[in-house]
């Protein structure tokens, strides 16, 4: 999702990252990954729970996840030391100032991420809805 940041901003939105570690973990993450969008932590998982995100051993170690882990390992991707709750799953929500949620994705297991193009398409729909007149082609006068 972070790779889509310029396209998210081009659509008038902002990417907000929430992690489940402690503030010092966020500092490490921001510096090591070069994060330029707002970044927050939810150490007690209050927001994760309110968002209905999954947590548990089974969602973290399904056979598919292990397969992905092995593949990533073979391809040379090594996950660094985990910071935060290793059993917590993630998710992505588009939220508008009117409190509508035009897009929601709850990760089912580790490695299950939304397709960034779907998120961008949802942002396009939000833009069209909020400014329909600006997008409508002008009627030519007779």
């Amino acid at each position: 999702m972070r790779d889509a940041l310029p396209e998210i901003r081009a659509r008038g939105a902002e990417l907000i990252i929430v992690g489940n570690g402690r503030p010092e973990h966020a500092i490490d993450f921001r510096e090591s990954e070069g994060i330029t969008c707002p970044l927050f932590v939810d150490p007690e998982l209050h927001a994760y729970r309110a968002a209905g995100l999954r947590r548990g051993l089974l969602s973290s170690v399904s056979p598919r996840v292990i397969g992905r882990g092995i593949r990533a390992f073979v391809e040379g991707k090594r996950q660094g030391e985990t910071q935060g709750d290793p059993w917590q799953q993630g998710g992505v929500f588009i939220i508008t100032p009117g409190h509508t949620v035009p897009y929601a994705y709850v990760s089912q297991e580790a490695g299950d991420h939304p397709d960034p193009s779907e998120v961008l398409a949802a942002l396009d729909r939000v833009r069209r809805k909020s400014a329909p007149a600006a997008r409508r082609p002008k009627r030519s006068s007779p």
Binding site: M1, I8, R11, G12, A13, E14, L15, I16, I17, V18, G19, N20, G21, P23, E24, H25, A26, D28, F29, R30, S32, P38, L39, F40, V41, D42, P43, H46, A47, Y48, A50, A51, G52, L53, Q79, G80, E81, Q83, G84, D85, P86, Q88, Q89, G90, G91, V92, F93, I94, I95, T96, P97, H99, T100, V101, A104, S107, A110, V119, L123, V126
Partner: protein
């Protein structure tokens, strides 16, 4: 109550440790709120 309303009053912390209510983040603009599994 939808997710936005449930999240609105929940406090999270920035990397410097300062608290902010999540709802303040989408007061003026649409946001893509991404919950990550973990840092690192």
């Amino acid at each position: 109550m939808n997710v936005a309303k449930r999240l609105h009053d929940i406090e999270v912390f920035d990397p410097e440790g300062d608290a902010i209510r999540l709802g303040e983040l989408w007061q003026d603009r649409t946001v893509v709120l991404a919950f990550v599994r973990h840092f690192g």
